[in-house]
């Protein structure tokens, strides 16, 4: 993975000192709170329901063991012994104090980490497919591109005061695991007819209050033009995006209101005027970055691990773990192993410092020191030998990290909701915990198969509910928390927004409503058909009818 040179390091240290100066100037009144607030947001610091919240950047979801151990140390020393992994592959601490933040930032800088631009109206963390570099369906590892974009977008003087946040995602695989179509800009590595590598650029996707699917902006962009092209897109957005209404200020609104053809013409016009030779990174710099992502020293192993096969035969739960939590690696004899942070009945995506340290140890021992964070709020050991899976599984089990539910109905994506977030309209975690317990039975989970529930505690949709196979949105109705359920969302290349099943329900009725929905699927599915496939074939009607059996009684 990328390692800082002296320049990366110096920039991060200077940024810490700059923020410390901003805090001083806030305290002495030089900066008003209106001025300080966007500055602290651009250093990842929110003020939430109970306390400050600090969001740490995990660039394109890649971490090493040393970094994860440092996060555990910070959790213990400055927080309450745990952190929360987010839907943009970052980590959040919920209890830091403002006066401690400079010290925390120095500890992060010690391990080449930072909180730069993890909030605020600027370019945020560029996210990527969690299986970058290892996936069987990969065209090329997109992380060098993600690192290039990270550097280009960091402290960009022109784009630090945008109308709204700006989120970029990259993918180098045929299947989209990075939600490209739900991002302001999606960058997809593709080959043209001549076999040359370049980028397909999508624009104007986004969830939130007005969910929209990203549109094709550029079919093929040559590699060398990436930064100049992004500059054209950002400049067009910065100048033309709406500023009159916070809820209409994302680029998706601009693209929607302008139309993709006209928007594209505006971008191309600006791009034509930019002197790419002055902006783009030269091939040597791209190669310098790419060298950090060279594959590790894999061994030559057989496709099948006898040791793993034998162990699975002895242990049914291990067999489940292998079935659900391993992802096919491009290298024979290896797998990408997902560590579920969704143990039954626990808050989704949270990890204690003890759990973090265990994962760091396992990464060091079994995965070349590398860990990934997924947008589904899980962790990944990207390069494990199949031979080592039983030992890893046993170790994970000691810390409740071996739940074999990746991709299943209890692998719930869930925002912090009103238990933590000042923006929320309802709590989300307790309902996620209840649903997790409700569907805990492993045989039942396996029978239901691939089904993701995504939950948001407000219409800002940080829990991606619009693109969940089942989406749950927490609102307020008549002074009570009320949960609307949508169905049929998809975050992959088959992008789709969910459709509303009916009126919102109180939390205690949501499990039975989902039972109805799952029941329709189980009763009407064809052999081998997943939930989302069955939905596409059957349509909304049968699910809506089944839902009404619950909502009519509740009403």
């Amino acid at each position: 993975m990328y390692r800082y040179d002296e320049f990366d390091e110096r920039l991060v240290r200077e940024r810490v000192a700059q923020f410390a100066s901003q805090i001083e100037r806030r305290l002495d009144g030089s900066l008003s709170d209106d001025e300080f607030k966007p500055l602290r947001l651009k250093n990842g610091l929110y003020l939430q329901l109970h306390a400050y919240m600090l969001r740490i950047a995990v660039p394109y979801g890649t971490l090493n063991a040393r970094q994860l151990r440092q996060l555990a140390l910070i959790a213990d020393r400055y927080d309450r012994g745990y952190g929360h992994f987010t839907t943009r592959q970052n980590l959040q601490f919920n209890w830091p104090k403002l006066k401690d933040v400079p010290a925390i930032l120095e500890l992060l800088a010690d391990v080449e980490m930072h909180c730069i631009q993890t909030s605020g109206n600027c370019i945020r963390n560029t996210t990527a497919d969690q299986f970058s570099g290892v996936a069987y369906d990969e065209i090329e590892d997109p992380r060098p591109v993600a690192e290039l974009i990270r550097q280009w977008s960091t402290l960009h003087p022109e784009f630090d005061w945008l109308g709204r946040k700006f989120k970029i995602a990259v993918s180098g695989a045929t299947h989209d695991r990075a939600v490209l179509r739900g991002h302001d800009v999606g960058v997809r590595l593709v080959r043209d007819e001549a076999g040359r590598l370049g980028y397909q650029i999508l624009v104007g996707g986004g969830l939130g209050r007005t969910p929209m699917e990203g549109k094709l902006l550029r079919e093929f962009l040559p590699r060398e033009d990436l930064l100049a092209y992004l500059e054209a897109v950002l400049r067009t957005y910065n100048l033309e995006g709406r500023r009159d209404n916070k809820y209409k200020a994302r680029i998706k609104i601009l693209v929607h209101e302008t139309g993709i053809e006209k928007f594209s013409a505006m971008v191309e016009d600006e791009f034509a005027r930019i002197d790419g030779t002055k902006i783009n990174a030269d091939p040597e710099e791209q190669a310098r970055i790419a060298a950090y992502f060279a594959p590790p020293a894999y061994e030559d192993l057989p496709d099948v691990s006898r040791a793993l096969e034998d162990a699975q035969a002895q242990d049914e739960v291990l067999a489940r773990f292998v079935e659900h939590n391993l992802f096919r690696h491009k290298r024979k004899g290896y797998a990408a192993l997902t560590i579920s942070l969704k143990p039954i009945g626990e808050a989704p995506g949270d990890a204690s410092s003890e759990q973090m340290r265990l994962v760091a140890d396992l990464a060091e021992k079994y995965s070349f020191g590398e860990i990934r964070v997924t947008h589904m709020q899980n962790l990944v050991l990207p390069h494990v030998k199949l031979d080592d899976v039983p030992a890893i599984y046993a170790a994970l089990a000691t810390q409740n990290l071996a739940t074999p539910n990746v991709g299943l109905i209890t692998d719930i994506l869930c925002c912090p909701g009103l238990d933590y977030c000042a923006l929320a309209t309802a709590r989300s975690i307790p309902l996620a915990q209840d649903l997790s317990k409700h569907f805990a039975d492993t045989a039942k989970q396996k029978d239901i198969g691939e089904l993701n529930i995504k939950m948001s505690g407000c219409i800002n949709a940080c829990g991606h509910h619009h693109v969940g196979h089942i989406g749950i949105l927490g609102l307020e109705k008549k002074g009570q928390e009320s949960y609307q359920i949508t169905i049929g969302g998809d975050a992959t290349e088959k992008f789709a927004l969910g459709e509303l099943l009916g009126p919102g329900l109180p939390a205690e009725h949501v499990p039975e409503a989902l039972d109805k929905v799952v029941g329709v699927y189980l009763a009407q599915r064809q052999p081998g058909e997943t939930f989302i496939e069955a939905y596409r074939r059957l349509g909304l009607a049968p699910f809506k009818a089944a839902f009404r059996e619950v909502s009519d009684v509740v009403a």
Partner: protein
């Protein structure tokens, strides 16, 4: 108002006018709507500037670049960054005169404004009371590096250029060493 450039506070030579009849001083700052007329009736060595709001299209200003000594871009709020892109476009399309950002910016934005092509920033007295000139100048030395090529605020090294220079030195040394070795063979 406090007017600053990278050296600190400076006096403002320009007088802002609202009516064509007022356009008689040495340094006249006119609204865009009056610009063509002010230029047409220009006297001797009059320095003409224009003030624009941050929705102004840069293309409309291009015909006047050679004749303008100053362009002032209004910032309705310190968090509205449109002016930074306007400055950037003005510079890219060939404007070489003075460029001023005017509005409730705060001192931390000064290096950004300069990097985008502004020479000056102008803020209200109320703002200056909280953030005197010394704070603005101090803001320039906090971040000494930038990743973005071609965005130089006069106080930053460009990281990519530094890396390339380091590579070139290494390449030169390697070449020299090889040349020395081949000579010795």
């Amino acid at each position: 108002m406090l007017l600053l450039d990278r050296s600190g506070a400076k006096s403002d030579l320009f007088a802002r006018i609202e009516l064509l009849a007022e356009a008689h001083g040495d340094h006249v700052l006119a609204p865009f709507a009056l610009l063509a007329d002010v230029l047409a009736q220009r006297e001797g060595n009059q320095q003409i500037g224009v003030f624009i709001d941050n929705t102004q299209k840069v293309t409309a200003l291009e015909p006047f670049f050679e004749q303008l000594a100053l362009i002032v871009v209004a910032f309705p709020s310190g968090t509205d960054g449109r002016g930074f892109s306007i400055a950037r476009q003005l510079r890219e399309r060939g404007y070489r005169g003075a460029l001023r950002a005017s509005g409730p910016l705060f001192s931390d934005e000064f290096p950004q404004a300069l990097a985008c092509g502004f020479d000056e920033v102008e803020v209200t007295d109320a703002s200056a009371a909280r953030q005197p000139a010394a704070q603005w100048v101090a803001a320039l030395s906090r971040i000494s590096l930038a990743y973005q090529r071609d965005f130089n605020n006069g106080a930053t090294l460009n990281i990519l250029d530094e890396r390339r220079a380091a590579r070139n030195i290494l390449d030169q040394r390697r070449a020299a060493r090889l040349a020395g070795e081949s000579k010795n063979v």
